[in-house]
């Protein structure tokens, strides 16, 4: 320590960590790099700077920390650091029983939480080989599509907000608020619905919900058109998003991107068609696909998906069968040992669950594979070479929800 004062220090010296005001706020971690990628990333060439898009930031969708290596304004590399929202959901699911897992898994995708609730529910049904009544299937499809619309409306708002427009956010929230109020009339909750049960749904459709739904459906298509009109042809918006974050189909498959991101790159993979579940085999709908793979295509694709969802809701309402809404299952479920894999198409991609049960009332392993987790990896391929401002635009166009990324 005493002879350290006379020597010239450099941050490359692996034995000494010098604590100065500059280094407190620097993003270089204070331990030697543990992997090759870390070494390659934290080695700064001449003129490069590490910029920490920290966990508290108005634009990272949730608590995400991204360390950007920038050269002036151009990003050369990026390293997302996760874990700020990690709640240990999988471990908690193992501790409680299958019903508790529903409310544990709810906040994994808090924007459209019925999809994350579906995970333990559908996994348990597959393990039990349970036949869910038709009416429950149709109700589930209906509320899933409503959630999809509300999530996409929010996506439009966030994308515009990250690019600087203040009003499309509020337009997205108009749609989302109406849908969420509807679902509150149905389930009792606005956001984390806790509505799906193993074997069906919790409550039947009531008059309040149906009247609000009918009211909304009569205006929905026109409202969506009007609200997206502000951004569709907007010169500034188009120039900010077209050609940004281009994903080729090969790259998309290699990075295992799913959902609207994959379909915008040209690969027509949709879990609702590939592995039909619930009422989807009986419904007629198209899968919108675009081929450019840039942010603008992802935005337009989600607007198309909203229209498709409105069609699906229409069909669900017309073809809703009568019947029980929940299968008869005992209150305490003991599932025979087995393994099951289910997947649904959430607004972000393929939301998958791999469940193992060991015969007791607690799940042995409930692995939730969240689409935002896989989608977010692709920023490492898409962003370098663009400017810092585009980092936000590209991340916003992938629509990540940190609840799922950091289980």
């Amino acid at each position: 320590m005493t002879d350290a004062k006379t020597e010239v220090r450099s941050l490359d010296d692996p034995n000494i960590w010098v604590e100065t005001p500059a280094t407190i706020y620097d993003a270089i971690p204070p331990y030697p790099p543990r992997t090759e990628r870390e070494a390659e990333f934290y080695h700064l060439r001449d003129g490069e700077m590490l910029l920490n898009l920290g966990p508290q930031h108005p634009s990272t969708h949730g608590v995400l920390r991204v360390v950007l290596k920038v050269d002036g304004e151009r990003v050369t590399d990026l390293d997302p650091v996760l874990g700020y929202l990690h709640r240990g959901v999988e471990k908690l699911c193992e501790v409680g029983d299958w019903h508790i897992a529903i409310s544990q898994c709810d906040p994994l995708e808090y924007v459209a939480s019925l999809f994350s609730e579906a995970m333990p529910v559908m996994a348990a049904e597959k393990l039990l080989d349970l036949e869910v009544p038709k009416r429950a299937q149709y109700i589930r499809t209906l509320v899933w599509e409503l959630n999809r619309i509300s999530s996409h409306a929010l996506f439009i708002g966030w994308l515009a907000l990250d690019l600087g427009g203040l009003t499309p956010l509020l337009y997205g929230f108009i749609e989302r608020d109406e849908i969420v109020e509807m679902l509150a009339a149905l389930t009792g909750q606005r956001m984390l619905f806790n509505y799906l049960r193993i074997g069906g749904v919790n409550r039947d459709l009531n008059h309040d919900f149906l009247s609000r739904l009918g009211d909304w459906m009569s205006r929905a298509a026109v409202e969506i058109e009007q609200e997206t009109r502000l951004l569709n042809e907007n010169e500034i918006f188009v120039r900010r998003t077209r050609g940004m974050g281009v994903m080729t189909p090969e790259m998309a498959l290699r990075m295992r991107v799913t959902g609207p991101n994959l379909r915008a790159a040209g690969v027509p993979f949709d879990v609702r068609r590939a592995h039909p579940y619930a009422a989807y085999p009986d419904l007629e709908f198209d899968i919108p696909t675009r081929s450019e793979g840039d942010s603008y295509a992802r935005y337009m694709l989600r607007v198309d998906e909203i229209r498709e969802s409105i069609k699906i809701i229409d069909q669900c309402l017309h073809e809703m069968p009568d019947g029980p809404i929940m299968a008869r299952i005992p209150r305490l479920i003991r599932i025979p040992p087995g393994r099951a894999f289910v997947a649904v198409e959430s607004p972000r991609g393929e939301y998958a669950c791999y469940a193992m049960s060991d015969g007791s009332d607690q799940p042995f392993r409930l692995r939730i594979s969240d689409p935002s987790f896989w989608n977010l990896q692709s920023v490492g391929e898409m962003v370098p070479g663009n400017l810092i401002a585009d980092t936000m635009a590209i991340m916003a166009s992938l629509d990540p929800v940190m609840g799922g990324v950091d289980k």
């Binding site: 960590w17 604590e19 295992r256 607690q362």
Partner: protein, 163 residues
């Protein structure tokens, strides 16, 4: 695995899931693959990994998107994927010593099983690991010796500074 991916008969394009499982006696690595040919997923299980030193070859050379799930499996179970260029902890802090999703890591309020181990892991969280450099506190040259900054309040040997 690459055979499954490249073979035209199977054409398993999409890796649907990659996870680790701890069955109490041994560890598995489980992969789910999807192909446009078959109507269902294919589950590939790599069983028999030893609890002490589980090693599996990585699939990141086929699907670069498998990097983070392998990091997660390493973080939660300790399974080391050979060939993954970036195998570090993804959810837990970098100096965390244990692997949370293993069956011998018990939560503090897990009353069904004994709760001894859980507590110990929670307390260990604040000790830095051995490979962390100890920070050296030195006054920045422009402050001068008689000026106090907040740095001087920290003890000499302390934990790694937050990044």
């Amino acid at each position: 695995m690459s055979k499954l991916h490249d073979d035209e008969q199977f054409e398993f394009e999409i890796l649907a899931d990659l996870c680790g499982v701890d069955t109490g006696t041994e560890m598995w690595a489980v992969y789910h693959l999807w192909s446009p040919r078959t109507p269902d997923w294919l589950r590939v299980i790599v069983p028999g990994l030893k609890r002490d030193d589980p090693r599996v070859p990585s699939v990141t050379f086929i699907w670069k998107g498998a990097e983070w799930p392998e990091r997660e499996a390493y973080d939660m179970f300790g399974i080391i994927f050979e060939g993954n260029r970036d195998l570090r902890r993804i959810y837990m802090p970098p100096d965390y010593t244990s692997f949370p999703l293993r069956k011998d890591f018990l939560l503090a309020d897990d009353s069904a099983r004994s709760s001894g181990e859980g507590f110990r892991h929670v307390e260990q969280m604040h000790q830095p690991a051995e490979n962390m450099r100890q920070p050296v506190i030195r006054m920045a040259p422009q402050l001068g010796d008689n000026q106090i900054s907040t740095l001087s309040q920290l003890p000499e040997e302390s934990e790694a500074p937050p990044t």
